[in-house]
Amino acid sequence: MSWTPADPMVSINNVHKSFGELKVLNGVSLDVMKGDVICIIGPSGSGKSTLIRCVNALNDIQQGSILVEGQEVNDAKLDKLELRKKVGMVFQQYNLFPHKTALQNVMMAPIRVLKQDKASAEAKARALLKKVRLEGKEDAYPGELSGGQQQRVAIARSLAMQPDVMLFDEVTAALDPETVGEVLQTIKDLAEEGMTCILVTHEMGFAREVADHIYFTDRGVIVEHGPPDTFFQNAQDPRTQEFLSQIL
């Protein structure tokens, strides 16, 4: 039974995860189709980061199944390299390599991991930096860039691996308000190009605009989910209503 593009790109099934005694995910299931943009929202500590970190095996899970293009992530013999070529991730704190320039940050993984030759990796990296509107910043070090610029380098770095799915973990949460917009725009561009995206975000307006589907999590379970319009106007569960009333 091999995976086809008609199957879910990411299929999360009854996932349980705990850190020692602390149960963080209590049976989460969701599917993401190719080209879908889904947003995961919920109170702090509800397990959003943990969930998306499980998708690229930065966290392991105790029970359940996560399939990425048919590849089982909950597998002791998991080929992590194969998985990580398919899944890109952008973090809240950018996590750029501080001793490398913007260009080098973007080129490094294609050269080391995909074994691309330097010239073609560089050409692609320059094109990607242009795409995230950072032309002219190629030789700047992360420490010389603003938060929003660093985050866009991080997005370019991830895209350089030509992933099929992108994970975004509250990527604007650490930014100054004036640079949030530029990063959201970059993600929106990606979504419009058909990139499959799993986003954890507190930007409700943005979620409403780009998401095909919204999931609300609390204490390790999905409380409620639906298309943005239904979700924001017709939330049924009191926990969802309370959360939305606080944040909107």
Binding site: N95, V113, Y141, P142
Partner: protein
């Protein structure tokens, strides 16, 4: 005398090189997922940090050196497999290496886990992460301490005197036994080491500056 100076230079250079290699490899092994690998490295560090370098030198030269087979030399006699220079180099490299492991380890601990995670998420292997991310960043943090330890190492090479390696101190000693100009000899010795260490420190400082990242740390 010039020969003595060259021997000191050579001994210092060899020990600097190997002690840094030991530090880098040891710090990598300390991060191993095998308990016994970590224990072995920790045992090595404890042993070499908590014993005097002179005792280590004697141990290598007299205890291990005599256990090794001998080889026939150019004149048909029997020579030890490793000469006193080699033993001094090995012993002092392990001595300084033990400190270097600790120095690199503290540098590695200063590298944010999230930076390493970003590399993992990009598909880097453990070794690639160590080589391309952790080590270059750890190096920058560790450089002042490394600087100190390497200066100490150069000074400690004078211990090789004890197993008759013809280094600067040993040669000077020979000359002063034959001559009367003891004061001049002592002044020369002091200045020679001062210059040697000075050159090393200047080189390390330059290196430190060249590694400085704009907008970082």
């Amino acid at each position: 005398m010039i020969g003595g100076f060259l021997t000191t230079l050579k001994l210092s250079a060899v020990c600097l090189f190997f002690s840094v290699i030991i530090g880098v490899v040891g710090a990598w092994l300390q991060g191993s997922s095998f308990k016994w690998t970590r224990r072995f490295v920790n045992g090595y560090i404890q042993l070499f940090r908590n014993t005097p370098p002179l005792v280590q030198l004697y141990f290598f030269y007299f205890a291990i050196g005599t256990l090794l087979p001998t080889v026939e030399n150019d004149w048909g006699g029997e020579s030890p497999l490793l000469g006193n220079f080699a033993w001094a180099a090995i012993s002092l490299s392990f001595f300084a290496g033990a400190f270097n492991v600790e120095i690199f380890r503290s540098g590695i601990e200063a590298v944010p886990k999230s930076t390493v995670e970003a590399a993992e998420a990009l598909g880097f292997t453990k070794l690639q992460i160590y080589k391309d991310i952790t080590l270059p960043l750890a190096f920058r943090v560790a450089l002042p301490a490394l600087n100190n330890n390497l200066v100490n190492l150069v000074k400690t090479t004078t211990l090789a005197y004890a197993i008759a390696v013809p280094d600067l101190l040993y040669e000077s000693n020979q000359i002063w036994s034959d001559n009367v100009n003891v004061t001049e000899m002592m002044i020369f010795l002091l200045i020679a080491y001062f210059v040697l260490v000075g050159v090393l420190v200047a080189g390390m400082n330059r290196w430190e500056r060249s590694l400085k990242i704009p907008g970082y740390g």
